[in-house]
Symmetry: C2
Subunit: 299 residues, 2 copies
Amino acid sequence: MSALAAQDFDAWQAGALSRTEAALDRFVPAEAPAGLGAVMRYAVLDGGKRLRPLLVLAANEAVGGQAEAAVRAACAVELIHAYSLVHDDMPCMDNDVLRRGKPTVHVKFGQAAALLGGDALQALAFELLTPGDASVPDSIQALHCRLLARAAGGEGMAGGQAIDLAAVGQQLDEAQLRQMHRLKTGALLQASVMMGAACGPGSAQALAALNDYGWAIGLAFQVIDDILDVTGDAATLGKTAGKDAASGKPTYVSALGMDESLAYARRLHDQAQAALAQSGLANTAALSALAQRVIARNT
Amino acid sequence: MSALAAQDFDAWQAGALSRTEAALDRFVPAEAPAGLGAVMRYAVLDGGKRLRPLLVLAANEAVGGQAEAAVRAACAVELIHAYSLVHDDMPCMDNDVLRRGKPTVHVKFGQAAALLGGDALQALAFELLTPGDASVPDSIQALHCRLLARAAGGEGMAGGQAIDLAAVGQQLDEAQLRQMHRLKTGALLQASVMMGAACGPGSAQALAALNDYGWAIGLAFQVIDDILDVTGDAATLGKTAGKDAASGKPTYVSALGMDESLAYARRLHDQAQAALAQSGLANTAALSALAQRVIARNT
């Protein structure tokens, strides 16, 4: 694993974010009918940490993969993430009015538009993965769709949301909590890594290591999320803080306590770094730095 | 175009439906967590005309395509159709309580479950199209995902829904009405035909003809739908009749009158049959019979 100075990572990240924003701006159409394009663009553009796209692009760098396939995958995972936020914020789910410091989509455009806009974003994700111009090989298109569909569906993100809803007011043990978070957040983060890895050649050893890396940072992300729900404030987070505790949702902090939650996040970080070291890949500096950022983040 | 006696078509249809139901039963998992599997199965199994799967399988027969790819595509389009019904029925959209003679999903399971179940069904559609076991060539997997994503998204079904919502209480001219229906219903019906055609070899001439066929029956289906909204009854339809007129939605009947709407549906049927005749394909009997059923249907 090569070392990457903080300023080098900042420069890499700035370039990756710039490519991602430009691609999202190009790919999310303003022209979708009856105002749907405006809803979709509001939900996706001008906000968000873009962690998932960064993971795709960093994993693609690690395997020396194909740039066009990677940027499409980066946008696709972000569209899935964005649609899930739009639907989660709706009154029948979390009923949130603030997201990234702005009114949520249903507050701004109405519930029907939020429902349809989210649905259209999910479809658009798969459309981005399957360009008809031969710029991405069929084998990568098929693998990308397979990874994303599994991570988004009933055995992934949507299933995790269902567990989350059913868990309000329940006491979950650590295994149940881990399963909930692995599906709800971890599956898509892990898929981001594997979709980046799918853009190029990778040995079985490298893919297994990246899969382990993705698993560990996916879970670490959610542990930190639970910690920030307690320690963060709305202005920094851009969303309502203390919401999970107030609504009786089980969290790592409520299950393990604050100190043990922090220690657990650090152990997961170390696991992620160890996986990179075992990958046999030379160019994992950006993935390593992203793992550090996941732990050190305050938003 | 070969002729197919009514009883031969009935036998073909019975076989195709039986394969579709068995595949849906196998593919829609009961195990999805926190009751989500039960929601998904309720939304998909034991109901529906399965017109879209029948179109996939009939088009696959016409080109002599691959059976495994076709049955997966048949199920995938039906899952997209099913999820759209679940979301459309929700209170923030059409607020329907009856579907296929049963309580709608949100009435039975609650709105959050309906939202998540629909989302998971959309993801599952793309998962079915991309098996990891090499049973379907990557080129077909990629093309299937491309066709389905475009038909389902903002420039397809979801876009048509947005126009539909915006059109309540508006007068649309025939071109606007046609655009709304082409997206809302026609795009997925047309995609069903083209996904079936994608399972095997097809000349450019054959594909262009099947595309024309799909366009014509997609629109004819919706014209008949508008007619049935006036002439049908809830017991036969399995859903609330007269709903469009009551809610001020523009329909073909309100735009053209009943007689001209019927004549238009017949002209579209004739266009569909003419396209089959021009396809150069020998085995279009099932597609021809399905076009007749679309016009003659009373549910």
